[in-house]
Symmetry: D2
């Protein structure tokens, strides 16, 4: 008995759920959990089906392809840990949170490597026995630096890149290598405080709540599809530094919940938004 | 085109989702939203299907009855407002919140009547043009009082009774008249502080969070299936009275979210628990 | 024995708390609660002192004025209900929430009148026995309309104006009549989604949390000092209309918590921010 | 210039704040922040004063002792990291969270040693360079085991013991060694689900919110003064195991917020409650 996830995405039409679940039934697969969504604007259908049974992948996918309309996408995923590379700069809290959650079994990820544009976090990586690559941006043009990063990252063939407080803006060329596969944690409640120094901006505006946003990276700065957001209350006693410190827990929570969704194959990208099934 | 909700509950077996959604498809019904749950302990299957189309109720239900295993329950509900009777004592906040949400369109309920064992809230009912029945318990035995309540309530034929801070304990005889159809708001985070004066108990224990619990009433005091719970942070500055005041918003939120689930036909009772689909 | 609030604001210097509390002690006043804040940026000192005793207002204030540095502000407030005028357009939920909280004793306000630029909410005002003035903006220039509003409002001599979903932008001339005395509820988590249709903007951006902001109105649209913010989680299932509906509870909570702070004399305005003591 | 915390606790009387702040003023100390609380039930006064200046400890404390009524307690604390010993069993998440927060600077603690009644977490302690003492309870009576623990702990002279998922019940004899200095994380929203297997209990009761409670340990099981509580929403999809997993983040948050209060000298114990200033 195996446990698998079937993801289906196609234009909506009557009878889709019946067709797909019928095929599962013919294959003697038990549906553990089934969630779907139809976007009323675009008429796009999304379904995530947790299946249990004995899988004949080829004939199952063939049956699905015959039944589904043209332009459909479907994938049948096993529940093995996804391979990721984590990019960092100097701040330890997001990286440390991921490392510890993987360590204690709360998060199922295969962290192939950690790549930093500063050397500070090498020691933390080493404590957890994960290769650390220090790829300084000093003296390099943006494009040169990204080429250096890609050269280090590519051999690991990661499914996802996680930007765990990686404080460099990535160019469209870099992003195109990992479309909808780069997850960033932005230290504000987007779209508030786009850009640099969001805690300073939040302090100056006198907000009573701060937030953090985990999102896929696309070509527009801080404009990619949002996966998860979290917030915390602050008050007049908080300096910009206090907000930044309080924001750490918010950032960790938003990023690790987003990663949890990713590890469970629950995230569909839908234009500039996500559907979390 | 009509919009309906199909609720199905039966022992789980392979192919159930396929069977039910096939029948919907044959009836040319479009599935707007479908959520299901299988309880791993009992193997019971629960499904809620939002359908759109032209309904032939008789043949649809007949087709379902043929397909479903013995012991199944299914119902096909229209989205008309549910008729309720609200029971109160003296406190206005939960009643007022429901009245105002129905007034502004946030909550869809047909409030047939309000029944109180004190006269205080008659005037509020009158402001909203709803009949108020004052049924005092003074000088009556518990059973006599309940008979008097039932006599007033029964002619309205309500689908649900809402206990909006009704401060009387109902006997099993009364409850048996409306099985899983009486919704109570209890002013604590159950199962903490069962029984009387929960805010006083919370104050004495020095908790840092208070809560409220909306639940179906059954024969055991404060032991019925929980529909929704909400909490709020408190601190040492809160007296028992302050907690009670802060608790009002929590009570209103828990009760009105529970009622929202009820109005959307999302609540299954499952032993001593609820499944909210 | 009376219960009063002393508010003090002045440039910080050593010994301020000692000086002020000494004066209270000499007047045989008991300090029930004392909270203070010094802004590290501006060096401004803020203190709120809850006092109990027999008050000789004139000599107490005289003693304080002698002790405090030039440029100080102090006020000794009784705990009587503040007189307010509420401005509305068509949406009932914020107005209804305030009316019901005042009715059930959760909020202590003296609502002198309700003024609407549409007639819809007259009937709700009437249910609660509060004068409603319908001041249409139809056919009037912005300035003419504001003059008409002021003419209706001014005789009530309100301490605060509450914009409970009043959907008109006020000019600096109007705002100047009630500086830091107009409280607005904005239906977004400011500074995200400034301006019109914030729920539509939030929907299009695909946010996972929506918010509302209660703030003082100043000359800059949606830029006034924030008093309180509240949020709620949403997901891909929410249309812009669903977000708007879910946002109602958030708006009510942010506005009524802000009003609670106001009724307790806890809000200082400090440049473009608030200090809530 | 030093930064110190003055804690004062005594029976309330008029003029206390004035007296204490006067003494600070005479010592040319600047008050950065002052918070106080008077318990209306017991009439006990609590004050926490953050001071900045040049301290002459002896004369300052002498002046305070002269001014304060008999039975007063006062302490003048420097802001050095508190020395703690952490007790664990097998679960890594709370220990890991503390280690990582101390590592990244979010929490200021001097972790002198980690003591476990199982060997599993030795390796994690070693990664962070902290001595781990494995003190098995196998084959020992409860009292013998506690003696063995004390023998290992005592030489470190810790200010606090942190029970980071230490799954042994401590006897009054042990607790008496560290009165109000042992902090436990209980995996439920106390007083709900006292005792063993709270997540199983929560699952069986069908709650919609789970919680965790950080509290001081006293002689009564799970009855000590509560320092902090946190909660998270769950639903019917959660098995007892899922609740336990979801509870990890709640436990970490409650414990680390409680520890943050401790490191800032903000916690007074007041009978069976805490006052957090």
């Amino acid at each position: 008995m195996e446990h698998r996830i079937l993801l289906t995405e196609c234009p909506d039409s009557k009878g889709l759920i019946a067709q797909i679940t019928n095929i599962c039934y013919k294959h003697q697969l038990n549906i553990i959990r089934n969630t779907e969504y139809v976007d009323p604007g675009t008429g796009q259908f999304y379904m995530r089906t947790e299946l249990e049974g004995i899988f004949n992948d080829n004939t199952l996918l063939l049956d699905l392809d015959r039944a589904l309309p043209p332009g459909s996408r479907r994938s049948l995923l096993s529940r093995s840990a996804k391979k990721v590379v984590i990019l960092v700069t100097k701040e330890a809290h997001c990286l440390g949170d991921i490392l510890m959650k993987v360590y204690d079994g709360s998060l199922t990820l295969d962290i192939a490597a950690i790549v930093g544009n500063h050397p500070e976090l090498a020691e933390l990586a080493q404590r957890f026995g994960i290769p650390y690559h220090y790829v300084s941006h000093q003296g390099l043009g943006r494009s040169e630096h990204e080429q250096a990063l890609l050269k280090v990252i590519a051999p690991y063939q990661p499914e996802y890149l996680i930007l765990a407080k990686f404080m460099r803006i990535l160019t469209p060329d870099f992003v195109a290598q990992y479309p909808n596969r780069i997850i960033n944690i932005h230290h504000s409640f987007l779209p508030a405080f786009i850009g640099a120094k969001p805690y300073q901006q939040a302090f100056e505006r006198g907000v009573k709540i701060i937030g953090a946003t985990a999102h896929f990276v696309n070509d527009q700065l801080d404009e990619g599809p949002i996966i998860q957001q979290k917030v915390a209350a602050v008050d007049h006693n908080y300096s910009a530094e206090d907000m930044e410190k309080a924001g750490r827990d918010v950032e960790k929570a938003a990023l690790s919940e987003a990663l949890q969704f990713i590890t469970e194959d629950r995230v569909f990208v839908h234009g500039n938004k996500t559907v979390i099934l």
